[in-house]
Symmetry: C2
DNA sequence: ATGATAATGAGAACGATTTGCGAAAAGTCA
DNA sequence: TGACTTTTCGCAAATCGTTCTCATTATCAT
């Protein structure tokens, strides 16, 4: 698990400065149960530290993404959605009615993807698999 | 196969007016071997009819997408890329070095996706599977 | 504490896409 | 074909999410 202190240590290890704003943003990410947008992250971070600005949210997310600490998901519709990395790789199922994001993983699909790419003469660098669906209406 | 005349007939069937601009855009899509961006489509359509404007390209693509005639792909990086629908469903492999887009299809993967969604209690409305890779350097 | 330097906030700038609006075509019917 | 109605068009301004500029502030090694 990642504790806030743990994350702070990681930041220092990256050789970047530990600022109030960055800690606020990391805390938001760590305590998020959903996959918040930059806008949401800004709002939540401001609760903890009103001085956090939009620019800093984007700058911090970009740096954390480069560092591999956060994952940026560009689902359809408006705006990227973020989550802390650290867990196992997974793909996403987006509920078209609520916007809720469900994580899942299939070793079989991963294997098939690699096979297909190999047949086409490619090495996969990364991939994106998103299912968009609805919960069938109870009848 | 879709001939230009065929596409025109489809347009009329949709109850929309057949304009020079729309025909130019459809022709561009039909003769495109790649997955052009709105910008490319505008440039190519202008060769055939200089009066085509950017706004019309976007408006036309939006209407064709809604009509199911074209597919809009939002790969990573800047701008959506379009292709004529009409063929069989397929997913994409994007060459990270050249930007080239390769189409592929796997019945197995499709089936697995449906199974996974079903287990989670969902019906898939649509999905997006993109592989991003490179051709291994010859040694 | 102090200074070198990185990070910040505010707002302007950006790129892709969308929209409002008056002018110009397309379709319709006589 | 001409007159009329409605859609579509081009242009420019507006949006939206995101990035950048720059003067100011904060971090951290000393």
């Amino acid at each position: 698990m990642n504790t806030d202190a743990q994350l702070e240590t990681d930041l220092r290890a990256e050789g970047v400065r530990v600022t109030r704003q960055r800690l606020a943003i990391l805390h938001v990410l760590r305590s998020a149960a959903d996959h918040p947008r930059a806008e949401d992250i800004l709002a939540r971070a401001k609760e903890q530290d009103p001085s956090v600005s939009q620019a800093t949210v984007y700058r911090t997310l970009a740096m954390l993404e480069k560092a591999g600490t956060v994952l940026k998901n560009e689902f359809d519709g408006a705006g990227a959605r973020y989550e802390l990395a650290g867990g196992a790789h997974h793909d996403h199922l987006i509920d078209l009615d609520t916007g809720e994001v469900i994580e899942f993983h299939s070793q079989k699909i991963e294997r098939l993807q690699a096979e297909i790419a190999a047949e086409l003469g490619y090495d996969i660098e990364w991939h994106r698999l998103e299912l968009y669906g609805r919960r069938p209406k109870a009848r």
